[in-house]
C-alpha cells in the first residue's frame, strides 16, 4: 500500500480539486431541492424569515393540509387525474410511435423519403403553430374540458421525436431475424409483433419514461384544456397557489410540490441505471 501511494503521489491533487469542484457545483445545483424539502416541513411563520435549511421543528401538518386537497378536490383525485393523463400518453406514444417507426425503418412504400423528411421537420415545429386550431377542433367536438385533447393526439403519433428515436433503434437491429421469420411465412404484422417489437424494448422503455415525465410536468396544454377543479391535475392545482400572496399557504403549497415531484424522482431513481447504461453503450458503439 505504501509503495503504491509513493508512485501515485504527484498526480492526485488535480483529481482531488476536480472532485471538490464537482461536489461544490452539485451542492449549489441541489440547493433548490433541499430548500423545497425543508420549506415543506417548516411552520408558516418561519418560511420566509430564516435562511436555515433546517426547520426549528418538523411541521407535518403542512402535508396534512396538502393531503386534504385543493379547492375542495381531494388530492387522490388530483393524483388520479395526473396518472390517467400520463398513463394514457405513455400507452399512446408507445403504440402509435412504434407502429409508424416500423414502417419507416423496415417497410417500403411510396413517398417514404419525403414523408420521413416531413416527420423529422415536425420535430422542430413549435407547438404554438398548431395550438389554436387544435383547440378549435376539440372545442367543436365538445371535447374541451375533457382529457381527450391531452391523450388522443398521443395515439396519433404526434410526438415525432419518439418516432425518430424508435426508427433509429430499429435500424440498428439485425435484419436476419426478420428474414428468417419471413421465410417461415410471417407477414409484416407477425414479424413486427413477434420479432421486432420484443427487441425494441429498450427504445420503448426510453419512450415511456420520457413521455411520462414530460406529460406529468406539462402545464400549458392542461392550462388551456381543463377548467373544472375536479378535472385538475396536480400541476394545475399547484398553479392555483401561484396567485396566492399570503405566506400562510406556503407550507402546504410546497408540501404539495414535493408530492407532485415524487413520481418523477422515483422514476428517475428506478430507471437511472437503465438510462446510464443505455447512454454508455451508445457511446461505446460509435
Amino acid at each position: 500500500m505504501t509503495s503504491t501511494t509513493l508512485v501515485r503521489k504527484p498526480v492526485r491533487w488535480g483529481r482531488v480539486a476536480l472532485h471538490v469542484g464537482c461536489l461544490a457545483a452539485l451542492l449549489v445545483m441541489l440547493y433548490p431541492l433541499a430548500w423545497l424539502l425543508a420549506t415543506s416541513l417548516k411552520p408558516a411563520d418561519a418560511v420566509i424569515a430564516s435562511l436555515d435549511l433546517l426547520p426549528s421543528h418538523l411541521e407535518w401538518s403542512n402535508y396534512k393540509t396538502a393531503l386534504d386537497g385543493v379547492n375542495d378536490v381531494s388530492i387522490w383525485r388530483l393524483l388520479g387525474n395526473s396518472l390517467l393523463i400520463a398513463g394514457g400518453a405513455v400507452a399512446g406514444n408507445a403504440i402509435s410511435c412504434s407502429l409508424a417507426a416500423y414502417a419507416f425503418a423496415r417497410l417500403r412504400f411510396r413517398f417514404r423519403g419525403p414523408l420521413f423528411a416531413f416527420m423529422i421537420a415536425t420535430i422542430m415545429l413549435p407547438h404554438h403553430a398548431v395550438l389554436i386550431p387544435q383547440y378549435i377542433i376539440f372545442n367543436q367536438l365538445g371535447l374541451v374540458n375533457t382529457y381527450w385533447p391531452l391523450i388522443l393526439p398521443k395515439f396519433l403519433a404526434t410526438e415525432a421525436f419518439f418516432v425518430f428515436l424508435i426508427v433509429q433503434f430499429m435500424r440498428g437491429l439485425p435484419r436476419e431475424l426478420e428474414e428468417a421469420a419471413r421465410i417461415d411465412g410471417c407477414g409484416p404484422f407477425r414479424s413486427f409483433f413477434q420479432v421486432v417489437l420484443p427487441l425494441t424494448r429498450p427504445a420503448l422503455i426510453t419512450t415511456a419514461i420520457f413521455t411520462f415525465i414530460w406529460t406529468w410536468n406539462d402545464f400549458f396544454t392542461q392550462l388551456i384544456y381543463l377548467f373544472d377543479p375536479d378535472k385538475f391535475t396536480l400541476t394545475l392545482a399547484l398553479r392555483s397557489f401561484v396567485d396566492a400572496s399570503s405566506t400562510s399557504a406556503f407550507g402546504p403549497m410546497f408540501a404539495l410540490s414535493v408530492i407532485a415531484l415524487l413520481p418523477i424522482v422515483l422514476f428517475f431513481l428506478a430507471f437511472q441505471r437503465f438510462l446510464v447504461e443505455g447512454m454508455a453503450s451508445s457511446g461505446v458503439k460509435g
Binding site: 464537482c22 433548490p32 424569515a49 414523408l115 415536425t122 404554438h128 414530460w214 401561484v242 428517475f268 446510464v276
Partner: protein, 312 residues
C-alpha cells in the same frame, strides 16, 4: 411496345405472379402501420397549420364566425402594439442569455467529467436530474420563492427579490433554464467519449499541449454535437412558457419584463379571446424559428466539422 418492356424473368409467369402479390401486400401493410401517424399528421398538424394561417387574417373570438380582416392583425402587431415588441425583445434577450450560458456550463462540466475515473456515473446522473425536474410547476414555484423579497438570493446578496425588479426578473427565469444544463451535458459527454484517443496521442506526439489539443482535436470533433445542442436548445428557448409564467405569478411582470412571446400569445388568444391575432403571432413565431434554424444551418458549414461523410 409492351411486350418488349417485359423483363426476361417475368416470362416465367407462374413464378412472378405470387412474388408480386406479397410486395403489394407489404405496401398495404406499411400504410396500416402508418395510419395513426398519417391521421395525426394531417388532422392535428397540417390542417391546423392551414387553419391558423387562415385565422391569422381574421377576427375570431371562438363564438362568432371568423371575420376576414386581411393583414390587419399583422399591421397592428408590427406597428401599433408596444406590448408585442416588448415580448419580442424579452424573448430574444432570454434566448441570448439562457442558451449560451446553459451550453457553456454543459460543455465545461462534460469536459470536467470526461477523464474522470471514479464517480463519473454518479455526477452524470446527479447533474442530469434537474433537467427532468426543472420543467415542473413545483420547481418553478421554488424559483419564485427563492428569488422573491426575503428569499435566499435576497438574503445572500442583499439585492432585494429579483422577481419584483424589471431588469432582474428575466435573469431569474433564465437561470432556471441554465439550471437544466444536464441534458445537453449528457449529449456533450457522449460526443466527447466518441473522439478516438489516437487523435490526442497523435497531437501529443506532434508536440501539442493540452490547450492546443482542445482547440485542434476536441473542438472540431465535437462541433456536430455542439451544433445539435445549439439548434435544439434555441428552438426550445423561443417557446419558453412555464418558468416565466410561474416566476411572474402568471402576469409576465414586473412591468411586462418577463412577458415572453408565448405568454403574450396565450394572453391574446386564451385570455382576451383574440384568436386571429394570436394565430398571426404563432405564424410569426414559426417563421422566426424557421429562419433562425436556417441561418444556424447555413453558418454551420463554416464551423461544423463532419469527420466522415459516410458515417451513419
Amino acid at each position: 411496345m409492351t411486350t418488349t418492356a417485359i423483363p426476361p424473368e417475368a416470362r416465367h409467369a407462374p413464378a412472378t405472379a405470387p412474388k408480386r402479390r406479397p410486395q403489394r401486400e407489404r405496401e398495404g401493410a406499411a400504410w396500416v402501420f402508418l395510419s395513426p401517424w398519417v391521421l395525426g399528421a394531417t388532422v392535428l398538424t397540417l390542417l391546423p397549420m392551414a387553419v391558423s394561417l387562415y385565422l391569422s387574417f381574421t377576427d375570431y373570438d371562438l363564438f362568432t364566425p371568423p371575420k376576414w380582416v386581411g393583414l390587419r392583425n399583422y399591421v397592428q402587431m408590427f406597428t401599433e402594439d408596444p406590448r408585442y415588441w416588448r415580448s419580442v425583445v424579452t424573448t430574444l434577450t432570454y434566448v441570448l442569455v439562457a442558451v449560451p450560458l446553459q451550453l457553456a456550463l454543459a460543455l465545461v462540466v462534460a469536459l470536467a467529467l470526461k477523464g474522470m475515473k471514479r464517480g463519473k456515473g454518479f455526477y452524470r446522473s446527479a447533474f442530469y436530474a434537474p433537467s427532468l425536474l426543472g420543467a415542473s410547476m413545483s420547481i418553478a414555484l421554488v424559483w419564485r420563492a427563492v428569488f422573491n423579497d426575503g428569499g435566499t438570493v435576497d438574503n445572500l446578496l442583499g439585492t432585494g427579490g429579483w422577481v419584483n425588479k424589471p431588469g432582474w426578473a428575466l435573469l431569474a427565469v433564465a437561470l432556471l433554464t441554465v439550471w437544466q444544463f444536464g441534458a445537453p451535458m449528457v449529449i456533450f459527454l457522449a460526443g466527447l467519449q466518441q473522439i478516438p484517443a489516437e487523435l490526442y496521442e497523435a497531437a501529443a506526439v506532434d508536440g501539442a499541449g493540452k490547450w492546443r489539443q482542445f482547440l485542434s482535436v476536441t473542438v472540431p470533433m465535437l462541433s456536430p454535437v455542439l451544433f445539435f445542442n445549439l439548434v435544439l436548445q434555441t428552438i426550445q428557448a423561443f417557446q419558453v412558457f412555464t418558468p416565466a409564467f410561474a416566476v411572474s405569478a402568471g402576469k409576465g411582470g414586473p412591468a411586462d419584463s418577463t412577458l415572453v412571446y408565448t405568454m403574450y400569445l396565450y394572453d391574446r388568444g386564451f385570455v382576451a379571446s383574440h384568436m386571429g391575432y394570436a394565430s398571426a403571432m404563432a405564424w410569426v413565431l414559426l417563421l422566426v424559428i424557421g429562419i433562425v434554424t436556417a441561418v444556424l444551418f447555413r453558418t454551420s458549414r463554416s464551423w461544423v466539422f463532419y469527420a466522415s461523410e459516410g458515417d451513419r
